[in-house]
Subunit: 206 residues, 2 copies
DNA sequence: GGTCATTCGTGACCACGGTCATCTACAGGG
DNA sequence: CCCTGTAGATGACCGTGGTCACGAATGACC
């Protein structure tokens, strides 16, 4: 931690960290719903009210965690310019990487994903993460069009949404079943094959 | 109502009906979240506890309503055998019809859809509706394959899931924006065009 | 060090979804 | 018409997420 901060700032960061890790521990132990804010506060050694000074709602913890995971993802993927392979390869790799991250903590990931989606759909708050991810996918699709891998004139916006939709539902279905064998990979590859073929990529069927 | 029922049975049905319509009214007036069970009970002229004799949880109302809407949908669509046009046409028509139903009451539909999906994903309870709908889509896709409209050897399971995914996310996105102009129709047509082309249907692009 | 403003911690408090022991009123038999 | 067993109505009660008025701790300035 940056030592150039006042005692106050340092303590604030430290408390936030305590709350977050207490919460994550409990979520892993008993699940999100079964964990009460009071328990989290107790384990973090603060009062319940203090929790809400740091996170406006219980589920803000999930957003925060999601952002961390997203940052980790981008870290592991490295700078965009250095990605190799066709756009189709890149899209597939991106999503397989997401799958890897999710597989590390399936139960919590499931809650994170579903609860964030819910809030996004209900417009409960501006959720920058979704837009950011959407931009990334759109960029990859556009790259494919520019390189002539996907058909010129492709509606990049809708194509990207379709790719995301295919991925999202597969991921959720996978987690629903408790993420057992990697049937998951085949499922997403089959769907992507259909889409890429629909986008004019030759030689992708079944 | 069947008059051959005892007073008790009739009253039970009548009370359930009162609760349901009171709830729907309130949901339309103030939205699902802003409506408390106590309010519903009050308007239905019963005690709060009575509500839970009829519906195990507040959101069971949404399931019940969803089932009604689904029944209405199948009613309006008529018997499967009489559907005309290509499989692709039939799929598109099915989803446009769903869109019509949703458009009649966008706000409540949004809540219904999202909350039901949430419970489905979290496996909170067996949700027969989703499976039923999935079977229907699968059937239409299979029909397309058998007729030679889609490529032989198509993975019907995954193709159907892809169609559903495309539709579902478009629908939600549409409702998110408050379901204004029918940009919705174009969006779903574009996505379907990609998918159908990916499935080997000739002459579907952009 | 003394004074003041600000920020942060706190726990009593509220509204809500959901439970449950208790009571009510009806069906059915005599 | 009365008695009794039972389905169903009820509202006090609980645990939870979230609020808020208050007070303590801290930093800034003299």
């Amino acid at each position: 931690m940056n030592p150039m901060l006042g005692r106050r700032e340092r303590k604030k960061l430290e408390v936030e960290q305590r709350i977050r890790s207490a919460a994550l521990e409990l979520f892993r132990e008993k699940g999100y719903d079964a964990t009460s804010v009071e328990e989290i506060a107790e384990r973090a050694d603060v009062a319940k009210g203090t929790f809400f000074n740091y996170f406006p709602r219980k589920d803000a913890l999930l957003s925060a965690q999601a952002e961390d995971v997203a940052a980790e993802l981008m870290e592991e993927l490295g700078p965009l310019d250095e990605w190799t392979g066709t756009a189709a390869d890149q899209l597939l790799r991106l999503f397989l990487k997401v799958g890897d991250l999710v597989a590390r903590d399936p139960e919590l990931s499931k809650t994170m994903l579903i609860e964030n989606m819910r809030r996004f759909w209900l417009c409960t708050e501006a959720e920058p993460l979704e837009r950011e991810f959407n931009e990334l996918v759109k960029l990859l699709v556009r790259r494919g069009v520019e390189r002539g891998e996907f058909e010129a004139g492709t509606d990049v916006e809708q194509a990207a949404k379709l790719v995301e939709a295919a991925y999202f539902t597969t991921l959720v279905e996978w987690m629903r079943r408790g993420a057992p064998g990697t049937e998951y990979r085949r499922d997403i590859e089959v769907k992507f094959a259909i889409i890429f073929r629909g986008l004019g990529l030759p030689g992708a069927a079944t």
